[in-house]
Symmetry: C2
Subunit: 440 residues, 2 copies
């Protein structure tokens, strides 16, 4: 018989139970945190009109989209991110109550060259608050970031905050004159390379690529080298950039967001004037999250305020602020730190019948446990106890409920703890309570 | 400014919070039931090689796929279902422990003409047990069906079971002779139309389309009209089809599966000899689930045993049995029965600051509640109490925590119950406990 080779496309992956169980638990925990802050889930389709998803992106970006013509001749794409669909939703449904707080955890597709940790299908996990310019919303996103870290049991993570207006203030202070505005984004992009490329390269780029004179480059570095507690840093920055309206506004916003975030339970927030974030659309608060134990990992969660994104659909700005959890990177970081609890199966208890005459009793015992919401498996074929115990051992199932003819006659079951080997005979009526206590 | 019209492709839909919150709760409940039976989640990609997904389907089926050529010239498709990817997974990863119990809840895409209740993107929700021919697995799938209904609070649903071997036995008993085998599938497909088309039409089709003589048609109806308790029905069927090996095997399997299912807590299972299920790949047990209050809804969960599906990849049969929950149909059925708890937001508590001087205290109160895992929102702009209460009312938020200057000075908060209008002043240290008790 002609068979088809079972294989995956390059850049795509399966998650088998061992990978999927801890990952799904992480996602469930994150979703629960989002809901704790009042964010509601939404779903948008994987396929949309190319015109909607591509928006005003250039030709370069278009090559990263999975784009094709459907049976009806429509030019369509698989979504590239969750932010553009959010912008569409916010523009399309005029009855949505603002501020609109939504989260979405869903796959996106990018026709990029796959590489280490870079896939053509991956999950994005975004919360956003659309329709308010209140700095409370910025602080709330940072509080969500911190609460996600806490809920996942990640210690010592550092959230670094900055504000794009502060960087605009720096550019004002450099007195770049008439062509300054056009140049500003390029300078920010160069500054953003500092953590990865180092000071020497960035100095060279600022001179060669951005055309800054040596004294201006010194002033850039005088500014971005300010360190210390946030309040002290803001005080030091004021004489350097406070003469610019944007700079003064940016420093005020930083002061306010940091204070709000503290009241929302974010104890330590680091101010970092070098954070610009790569994307051009950020307009105010920007922040990133790092695990200091894993300096090469990069930011695991990041976000900021973007006030222009929805204008492509509405023709007017709508203020918005959001945060994106880098699920894959965060998960791999947690794995490196030993914070991921491995599991091959959700099953906590194996029910082991001893021969065909005790199968019915085994099924009834399993039903008792499942009715008590205890994940339970029945060994699905006839096998000696040794084989069934080996299965429990290999799958990491901690308890085995053994049903032999004696137990069935006595209306009991023998509960064996795999780790200690301890066995206890328990009346069936108490089986669920006993097992629950053993599972802790 | 040139704007892009925010619109969806035909046959696709967004789920906004009001639709998504109850739907997500339903999906979470179902996943929890699956895990209670030891099924593990897996993920497979949305995009796969066309060769893999299309398999040996004909040209007609190919038109239902979203199929295109990627940047690398590969012929690829969006998945059409979750069963073929499961077959691929089972064939591709030889280390998977059999029986392999997995579930997957994910969207699929079909380039069909959209219509009432028929979309081009929709969720499938499947559990399957691959790699065992034990009838315990068949019974377990039926127990999952019943447990899903119970967990969702759906009363009086009816699971109807049959076995394809019984139907094969019927065809044997009709002594169709040489060309019987080729004709058998067509006759089953005609019988499957009985609930929707009625006896008269089915009789006419059996005569005209399937070429059965009148006495044979009478025998078909004598058989499929058998009614009553399962055991009695099996007894009545035995003289009609028990002479055929397939028929005798089918009746034995039915008897056994029904008994196992009873021990697994499925009290009443209806035997229905007319259920054939449209798909040709079922080989043994077949079952469907109906809500008697909604006779036009159709089956909300269905499944059965299919032993040939994986052979396309492996070149040999692998036994498998599964169940598919029709999420959309089930949800719409639950809506009709008033079983869906509506919600516009996950928020249970609104924290309302009275002016800017109490905002910090409001943020701290919100942090207390969120730390106790109580979904809490802070009103994100300055507003009078009336406006904030109106928001809570419109969004269905049951409790409002009011923080005025007096409360802040006294380290208390006023908790207002929206429905009764009752207000209680509570010390901040007891706020979370008080709110939790009020929420019940």
């Amino acid at each position: 018989m002609d068979t088809i080779e079972p294989k995956l496309l390059k850049g795509f992956r399966d998650y088998l139970p061992e990978q999927m169980i801890p990952r799904q638990r992480m996602i469930d925990t994150i979703a629960r945190v989002f809901e704790r802050f009042g964010f509601a889930p939404i779903h948008t389709p994987a396929l949309e009109y190319a015109e909607v998803l591509l928006g005003k992106l250039g030709e370069d970006a278009e090559n990263l989209f999975y784009r094709f013509t459907d049976h009806g001749g429509r030019d369509i794409c698989l979504r590239y991110d969750l932010t553009v669909p959010l912008a569409r939703v916010a523009a399309q449904y005029r009855h949505l109550r603002m501020p609109f707080k939504r989260y979405q955890i869903a796959p996106v597709w990018r026709a990029e060259k796959p590489g280490k940790g870079r896939f053509r299908e991956f999950y994005q996990c975004d919360v956003d608050i659309v329709g308010t310019d209140s700095l409370l919303a910025d602080a709330e996103c940072i509080a969500v970031d911190h609460a996600v870290l806490t809920a996942l049991g990640i210690p010592d993570a550092v959230i670094r905050i900055n504000n794009r207006k502060v960087l605009a203030g720096l550019l004002d202070a450099l007195e770049l004159g008439g062509d300054g505005a056009a140049n500003a984004q390029d300078i920010l992009r160069t500054i953003d390379k500092l953590p990865s490329h180092g000071e020497k390269t960035v100095r060279a780029l600022l001179a060669e690529k951005n055309g800054l004179a040596p004294d201006r480059i010194d002033r850039v570095f005088e500014f971005i080298r300010i360190e210390g507690e946030p309040e002290a840093m803001i005080e030091q920055a004021e004489p350097l950039i406070g003469g610019s309206q944007a700079g003064a506004d940016g420093l005020d916003e930083l002061r306010q967001v940091i204070e709000f975030a503290r009241h929302m339970g974010v104890p330590a927030l680091e101010l970092d004037f070098t954070i610009a974030r790569g994307l051009d659309y950020y307009t105010g608060t920007v922040f990133e999250t790092f695990l200091p134990q894993l300096p090469d990992l990069g930011s695991v969660m990041s976000g900021g305020r973007y006030d222009h994104l929805i204008s492509g659909f509405l023709g007017r700005d709508v203020p918005a602020v959001g945060i994106s959890v880098g699920i894959d990177r965060l998960f791999s970081g947690m794995e490196s730190l030993g914070l991921v609890e491995q599991a091959k199966t959700p099953t906590r208890v194996l029910v082991a019948p001893m021969g065909p005459e005790t199968v019915d009793a085994a099924l009834r015992a399993a039903h008792r446990l499942r009715s008590a919401d205890i994940p339970t498996e029945v060994y699905l074929k006839e096998a000696r106890l040794g084989k069934q115990l080996k299965h429990a051992d290999q799958q990491g199932i901690g308890l085995v409920v053994i049903l032999g003819t004696e137990e069935v006659a006595a209306e009991t079951a023998t509960v064996k703890e795999m780790e200690s080997g301890d066995q206890t005979e328990v009346p069936l009526a108490q089986l669920a309570d006993h097992v629950r206590a053993r599972l802790g």
